[in-house]
């Protein structure tokens, strides 16, 4: 198992280089001059421009800029953003915000998804199953932007059940509304996947065998059907979780949650290659780690794919 983990970690290094290089190249290729974007149409004195360019290595060739950014990231010298913010401070502030939001949102999504998925899977074609299908179609059709503003207006402005925006009221209150909306918009996919997986498993031979040898219905459900039906769901959840360091850009903006998503958005807006690469690296590392955990968890659920 240790060899497996090491192998995965080593394989991640070249992928990481490719990913960061690719992201940096994309930012670099964006049209427009970053310092000009920062200044708007106001003219910038030549000396000021030269000083800023030198500070952010903007005059260097692409590959030098990339290497300097990577060096800063690997040595922990994050420096400041174009706007003057200390990047290490920003990460300290923003990572907890994003973690709180995504974990809470995922908790909502999984609870709803597992509950409705299992129920619908076992009671096929019942009213819960049918409503679930309808709800899935409706929810998947609602654009996030509309749902977030509508929820903010209804529950924040009109009913005043939740704060409209910001993190002043702390965890969990300030995060509840955005997490609920993300969860409700997202649970349908999980529920449908789980339902289908259960339906397939229920008809498998080993389930028939279990029934034939006279096992109780409850035991068949919880010991034989569910562990097998959960396998694809674990993958789904893993991918979901792994993406969380990307931050929820639109949600964070609308609910004014100062997380990584807003940071990423600002950085892309200003073409701050260094910050974008730093955030991508964070997202990449979390992606690799969580995927590794999922693979190990797979082995626990299904001995056939054990990697030891």
């Amino acid at each position: 198992m240790i060899r497996f983990v090491l192998r995965r970690a080593l394989a991640a290094v070249p992928i990481g280089v490719l990913v960061t290089l690719g992201v940096f190249a994309l930012v670099f290729a964006m049209p427009g001059d970053p310092l000009r974007e920062l200044a708007g149409d106001k003219p910038i004195p030549a000396a000021v421009l030269a000083a800023k360019r030198a500070q952010y290595h903007l005059d260097d060739p692409f590959i030098v800029q990339y290497l300097l950014s990577m060096k800063d990231i690997l040595t922990g010298h994050f420096g400041t953003t174009f706007a003057g913010a200390d990047i290490a401070d920003q990460l300290r502030l923003r990572i907890p915000v994003t973690l709180k939001l995504t974990l809470l949102a995922n908790a909502v999504q999984w609870t709803l998804g597992l509950f409705f998925g299992i129920y619908a899977g076992f009671k096929r074609n019942g009213w819960v199953d049918r409503s679930l299908l309808l709800a899935t179609l409706v929810l998947l059709a609602v654009p996030g932007l509309v749902a977030y503003f509508a929820a903010q207006y209804l529950f924040g402005v009109e009913l005043k059940w939740f704060p409209v925006s910001g993190v002043l009221e702390g965890f969990p209150h300030a995060y509840l509304l955005p997490a609920l909306v993300i969860g409700v918009l997202g649970f349908a996919g999980l529920a449908r996947l789980l339902r289908t997986s259960i339906v397939e498993t229920v008809n498998a031979d080993f389930v028939k065998t279990a029934r034939a040898k006279g096992l109780g219905e409850q035991r068949v459900l919880w010991r034989h059907i569910l562990p097998n039906a959960l396998l694809p769901v674990v993958t789904f959840i893993g991918l979901d979780l792994a993406g969380m360091f990307g931050g929820a850009i639109i949600t964070e903006s609308i609910f004014n949650l100062p997380g990584l998503g807003q940071f990423m958005f600002q950085a892309i807006k200003l073409k701050e290659g260094g910050v974008v690469v730093l955030l991508s690296t964070l997202a990449f590392i979390s992606f690799i780690l969580i995927n590794l955990l999922i693979d190990l968890l797979y082995g626990v659920l299904d001995p056939r794919v054990r990697n030891v």
Partner: protein, 529 residues
């Protein structure tokens, strides 16, 4: 649409996001002002030229002079007198005695001279460095830097044109006479820093020491609202009523608007998306004011096809400005090249701004027509860029029979192309003044190599008239000269005036923002009910 309006708007209509609330009789007067921008990372007026930063600095720092919101006349704040010599080239500034910084140190002429020298030093890379380019000795502090090199501090540390005369008096010698220099001194980006901050500005990024009506009420860490409390040491004039002000940064303007509707903030800008609905969303709780700026179409001087002024006039007269202003919303058709709230504005300045399709066609014919399609560039990061471009395009197509195409690009890319004279066709742009003088429209927009001369226009006759105005000490006569410059620009028409926009703001019932036709809307100076 790449509207420039940086500082100017802040000065002119500081209402961008100040509000006040509380009231309730006996309690202290406090207000929460929403700013729809990313949170500030430092407060230092000398290194700040963005609207949110200047807005917050305005509460904590006081300028030398300011525009009286009642009369529009210049009024002394920290200055006791600002006196030009006969040629308007050397200006003597005398400070009022008895003013101090918020750390108790007396405010002296040395504080101004040293703070300004720091800003003028190119290697410090402070954003208001450019202001001092008019001052004698600027070039010595800003030598050309080779590409890719970091500017080094120069051996010369001080502007030769800046001289301290005594504790409260200093003088500024400019490179050339400039009659409007007194007006420029109201820019808040010239506020002084006390000695301890000057020694180590980075250490004071988040604990500024000002000389204005408010000081920090609590520690201000990254991610916090900015909480300010009244500072008794500020002697006025124009002392705001509020005792406490909180600036809350809400980058999403629609979210800020919802926070207002929920009653959590006292003052907010109406975002473009709510222009149609704000009057019903918050009846009796809105104010509007004309925003000091001009919005126009830029005609590239580097494209020979646009060279004939008659063709430019034809384009101008083919545009139905009333319809276009309605499309923009909260706007009025432009009637000249300067903002309507400026002294010296004439509402009949432009002879070619009335919509007249027949006349336009005739002018186009006299000019020999136009070859090829007209390209209209628009900013893709603006929600309305494409809509506005197509509206103008349709008018040119229908009224002049031209073919039109559209190119969407990032604003910064359009700017870069225009700077290198490679942009094909028309673009939208705008300008707002840094100090309230029509000179601050005409010089940047039309002087050869002016800061906002986006058309690349040059006319020696116009430059000469501007120079005359700059050297004219009598304000009335100076305005007459500047108006001549505007007339020349309208004849040559490097820019086609389009519209002037109003800004709208919402305020809670407990405050009444100050509305002035000279300086716009301000919640910092709101009246508490």
């Amino acid at each position: 649409m790449g509207v420039a309006l940086g500082l100017a708007l802040v000065l002119a209509s500081c209402g961008d996001g100040k509000s006040s609330g509380s009231g309730g009789g006996s309690g202290s007067k406090s207000e929460v002002i929403a700013i729809a921008a990313d949170p500030l990372e430092y407060i230092n007026p000398l290194n700040e030229n963005g609207s949110p930063g200047i807005q917050v600095a305005m509460a904590m720092f006081a300028p030398l002079v300011t525009t009286d919101p009642e009369t529009g006349k210049l009024q002394n704040v920290m200055a006791d007198s600002v006196t030009p010599d006969k040629t308007s080239q050397t200006w003597t500034i005398k400070l009022k005695a008895g003013n101090t910084f918020q750390n108790g140190q007396p405010l002296t002429a040395k504080d101004y001279v040293d703070s300004w020298n720091m800003t003028a030093m190119g290697s410090n890379a402070w954003k208001n460095n450019g202001f001092f380019s008019k001052v004698d000795g600027y070039d010595a502090l800003n030598p050309p830097t080779p590409d890719g090199a970091t500017p080094k501090p120069t051996a010369v540390k001080a502007l030769s044109g800046l001289k301290q005369i005594d504790d409260l008096t200093f003088s500024v010698k400019l490179k050339v006479p400039f009659s409007q220099f007194g007006l420029t001194l109201q820019y808040l980006g010239l506020a002084p820093l006390p000695e301890e901050v000057r020694k180590n500005p980075d250490a004071y990024k988040r604990k500024p020491i000002g000389n204005g009506p408010f000081k920090l009420a609590a520690d201000w860490n990254a991610g916090d609202d900015i909480k300010l409390a009244k500072w008794d040491g500020y002697k006025g004039p124009l002392v705001p009523q509020a005792d406490e002000i909180t600036y809350r940064f809400i980058p999403n303007a629609d979210t800020a608007y919802n926070e207002f509707l929920a009653g959590n903030v006292d003052f907010v800008d109406v975002p473009p998306t709510k222009v149609k609905s704000f009057k019903t969303d918050a009846p009796d709780q809105w104010v509007t004011s004309i925003s000091s700026g001009a919005n126009y179409l830029v005609i590239p001087a580097w494209d020979a096809r646009f060279k004939n002024p008659k063709l430019r006039h034809a384009f101008s007269m083919a545009i139905d400005r009333k319809a276009f202003a309605d499309l923009v919303g909260l706007s009025e058709p432009a009637k000249g090249l300067v903002a309507p709230d400026m002294a010296g504005y004439r509402d009949n300045a432009c002879k070619y701004c009335d919509f007249d399709a027949a006349k336009a066609k005739q002018l186009l014919q006299e000019a020999g027509g136009f070859s090829g399609p007209v390209n209209i560039n628009y900013n893709t990061s603006s929600a309305t860029g494409q809509i506005f471009a197509e509206a103008i395009g349709n008018m040119l197509r229908q009224n002049l029979g031209l073919t039109v195409k559209y190119t969407g690009k990032q604003g910064s890319e359009i700017g870069e192309l225009a700077d290198s004279r490679k942009l094909d066709g028309l673009r939208f742009s705008g300008w707002g003044h840094d100090y309230p003088s029509i000179e601050d429209y005409l010089t940047p927009m039309f002087k050869s190599n002016g800061d906002a001369n986006f058309a690349g226009y040059a006319n020696p006759a116009l430059d000469a008239v501007l120079a005359k105005g700059d050297a004219e000490p009598d304000p009335e006569k100076a305005i007459k000269l500047y108006q001549q410059a505007e007339d020349i620009a309208l004849e040559d028409m490097p820019l086609i005036p389009l519209y002037t926009k109003s800004n709208a703001y919402l305020h809670s019932a407990k405050i009444e923002p100050r509305v002035s036709k000279f300086v716009g809307v301000s919640a910092l100076w709101a009246t508490f009910k």
